[in-house]
């Protein structure tokens, strides 16, 4: 580490990344926080109950350097390649904390690729950006519990809203009808026009918001060489990490925090960010009373986490064997699985019957996963389907090959000279 170098780089400004940054800078470390989106707060800003938490965390950033709209697209050791203001830069930290979160990944069903079919996150983004007007309705929201709050917000915006949920969640106004069921098919030409639930009755619908499973974003950790393990309670494949959230693999000083280390509550994400920051500080010799501080951070994480997930995370930290669950998931044969390349399930099934039984082999035959999003949308569904199709535990389905750049990289950006890197930061 040079005198002008950065002590800690934090990737992702959700609750975990914000908490890690605040904790590290308060201990006197030079911290750089990288966030792909223009706003801080991550997905927690979309959960009404977590807004107070993220606002408090944002106030604790202090002197930390924050780069917004800066996606990380490559990693080697503890050095990261980023795209910032259409320029390429590389940044190096003595420790790196990956707090990349867990985006919602829609599980394909017939018609899910129509425009107007959104995950809850995407719908909240549209609401916040003011892109949702009464003419966007009628809307159907498929969500449970506190996530159904989106239906209330859409109704406030003047849309006709129907909520699909097993029962009426708390706080949902009586004016919003609630139906049981699951979406079976969305129909329309180009954009969604009607929705069929499993009762087979078509209902008019121009905006369909579907609560979807959150899948940890482990691409950076995988690119850094971290071995991954399947833990369905925590959202899917996760990098292996030790009780201090240090990632197993070739690179010391690499940590994972927040939903990227297992989907949990926003408060648990923040506490795991603090734990990772303290572990990184301890590694750099910057943590006073390290044993006390580490034990305290672990206790706070245990208190904030949901019990089942905490148990799963503890097991992972202690080196639990991969979960052997065989997933059951199969949409209709004409459901599109890979939206980028328009690959349907029947094409995948045909290739798999012919012997292409790994994601890479399926990609070579069908182009599944080779589009712009590079498996971000179809990776998790494909693993589940392969698990069901082959009757093997999902954890034994090989993950698709992964190469940089993790985000599309304009050739023009590569032609511009380096921005001043690492220098001038005292």
């Amino acid at each position: 580490m040079t005198a002008t170098g950065r002590h800690i780089i934090v990737v992702g400004a959700g609750p975990a990344g914000l908490a890690a940054t605040g904790e590290a800078q308060a201990a006197g470390a030079r911290v750089l926080l990288l966030e792909e989106r223009p706003v801080l707060g991550g997905r927690a800003v979309l959960v009404p109950g977590a807004r107070g938490l993220t606002e408090g965390l944002m106030r604790s950033l202090g002197s930390a350097e924050v780069w917004r709209s800066t996606p990380v697209w490559g990693i080697a050791g503890r050095s990261l390649a980023v795209l910032r203001a259409q320029r390429i830069e590389t940044v190096v930290g003595a420790a790196v904390i990956l707090a990349t979160g867990a985006p919602e990944v829609m599980m394909p069903f017939p018609g899910w690729t129509l425009s107007g079919v959104l995950t809850l996150e995407a719908a909240w983004d549209a609401v916040r950006a003011g892109r949702v007007t009464p003419e966007c309705g009628p809307a159907v929201v498929v969500a449970r519990g506190e996530h159904a709050a989106l239906a209330t917000r859409l109704a406030e915006r003047g849309l006709a809203v129907t909520l699909v949920a097993p029962d009426r969640p708390n706080g949902i106004p009586a004016a919003i009808p609630v139906l049981p069921g699951v979406p079976a098919e969305a129909r329309g030409s180009g954009a969604v026009e009607e929705l069929l639930l499993d009762d087979g009755v078509p209902r008019q619908c121009r905006l369909l918001c579907v609560e979807s499973p959150r899948v940890p974003a482990v691409e950076l950790a995988r690119l850094a060489g971290a071995p991954c393990v399947y833990q369905p309670f925590l959202g899917g494949f996760l990098p292996r990490y030790d009780p201090t959230l240090a990632v197993h693999g070739p690179t010391p000083g690499l940590f994972v925090a927040g939903d990227a280390a297992g989907v949990d509550t926003p408060r648990a994400a923040a506490e795991s960010g603090r734990l990772a920051a303290r572990a990184a500080l301890r590694l750099l010799g910057m943590l006073e009373e390290p044993d006390v501080k580490m034990a305290e951070a672990r206790q706070r994480l245990a208190a904030a986490a949901s019990p089942l997930r905490h148990a799963a995370r503890e097991a992972l930290m202690l080196g639990a064997t991969p979960d052997e669950v065989i997933e059951t998931w199969a949409p209709g044969p004409d459901a599109t699985v890979c939206a980028c390349e328009g690959v349907r399930l029947d094409a995948l099934r045909e290739a798999a019957v012919a012997g292409a039984v790994t994601p890479d082999a399926l990609a070579a035959q069908t182009r599944c996963g080779l589009g712009e999003c590079r498996w971000r949308r179809c990776g998790a569904p494909l693993v589940r389907w392969l698990s069901e199709f082959l009757q093997v535990p999902a954890g034994r389905v090989p993950l698709p090959s992964l190469w940089p750049p993790l985000r599309p990289l304009p050739l023009a950006a590569l032609l511009r000279p380096d921005a001043e890197v690492d220098a001038g930061h005292a």
Partner: protein
């Protein structure tokens, strides 16, 4: 444990393009082969490969033309593998490059090969997307593109239709000599074969360890960039740049070997991509706005002098070894030559420069490195 080892006339170790081509050619000769591979070649990089007939010496070009001639009928016989004859160029930007190119074209023309030098105007007429700073290009109309994954898959499927067998995804392949042939362990199965064709560098190394036979190889690592789909822009393959039928641009400029990608620094990755982008945009300014979505690090292995090693190595052991691009470019010739050798003991015609024995000769020489064979054939 296997109940009983199955017996075959010929076992092909390696199911890539070369191995599958040999299996197909054998199966058509009614010598049903068994194909064995540790994994299943899935070509995680679905990039087309140039049938680069205009590179190399006249002897190399002559062999490449033989394959180029057979691709259309091969595609008719086994099913589509994305083959198109696009024509290929080596574009010169400087006067010095133009001088070298002109000399190469003249030399090839003298040897009676369909390789010509295109003037600046003619180059731009054929490939309007090129920068107007081009000085000219060496051109061969026989170059093309093919999808290696589809090619290997179609060849193997055709071989199986003609009675061949396959043991893929074995996880482990071992080999031992026994009287009258070889005993091969393919995962849990055991196979007996009178003759063996080694068709991948990976299995060549295994054979080297277990039978003590082999030849020198070299391994290269290089970064290749694939962009998002863009509107049809490029008609030819030139200087490692091509457009996949899907619309993706494949940027694989030559001479960027060994990126040292093991470095613990993202700068090595950035530098490699900068060099690729700079070289590509200098030739085709119009692709500036395209975005790279995939930049795999290819690890390729081939015989140490860069030429395929095809033919009999010793006794009943045959080779069909080539780098991944050469395996596609030459697979019709490789398949026929090795099938003829392994089924009828015929030495392949006109493939002397590919003879596996060339390394033994070079090693017996004054310890000098392997020389390129003389010009002409």
């Amino acid at each position: 444990m296997p109940e009983r080892a199955r017996g075959y006339e010929v076992a092909v170790l390696g199911a890539g393009c070369a191995g599958a081509a040999v299996a197909y050619a054998l199966a058509r000769r009614r010598v049903a082969p068994v194909v064995v591979d540790i994994s299943r070649p899935d070509h995680a990089v679905p990039a087309s490969v140039a049938v680069a007939a205009q590179s190399g010496t006249p002897a190399d070009i002559r062999i490449a033309l033989r394959s180029a001639d057979r691709f259309p009928e091969l595609q008719d016989a086994i099913g589509a593998f994305g083959y198109r004859r696009t024509g290929g160029m080596t574009v010169a930007l400087t006067d010095a490059d133009a001088e070298t190119g002109r000399a190469r074209a003249a030399q090839a023309a003298e040897a009676g090969l369909p390789v010509v030098w295109l003037s600046r105007e003619e180059t731009l007429r054929r490939e309007p997307a090129l920068t107007d700073r081009v000085a000219g290009a060496v051109y061969c109309g026989y170059d093309g593109v093919a999808d290696p994954a589809a090619l290997a898959r179609r060849l193997l499927a055709a071989a199986l239709r003609f009675g061949g067998a396959a043991h893929l995804d074995c996880g482990y392949v071992g080999i031992a000599r026994q009287s009258g042939g070889f005993r091969i362990r393919a995962g849990r199965d055991e196979i007996v074969a009178r003759r063996v064709v080694v068709a991948s560098v990976e299995t060549l190394h295994m054979v080297g360890r277990q039978l003590g036979a082999g030849l020198p190889t070299r391994t290269e690592r290089r970064r290749v960039a694939v962009t998002e789909r863009v509107a049809p822009l490029l008609r030819h393959t030139f200087n490692g740049i091509r457009q996949h039928p899907s619309g993706e641009l494949v940027l694989d400029p030559p001479a960027f070997a060994d990126e040292g990608a093991s470095a613990e620094d993202a700068k090595a990755l950035v530098d490699a991509l900068r060099r690729i982008a700079t070289a590509a945009v200098r030739l085709v300014p119009g692709i500036q706005s395209a975005r790279i979505i995939h930049a795999p690090l290819l690890v390729t292995a081939e015989p140490a002098d860069g030429r395929p090693a095809v033919g009999r190595l010793e006794d009943d052991l045959y080779l069909a070894i080539a780098g991944p691009e050469q395996a596609v470019t030459h697979c019709p010739v490789i398949g026929e030559a090795v099938a003829e050798a392994a089924s009828r003991n015929r030495r392949p015609d006109g493939l002397e420069i590919w003879a596996p024995g060339r390394f033994a000769v070079a090693a017996a020489g004054a310890g000098a490195g392997v020389q390129d064979s003389p010009q002409g054939s």
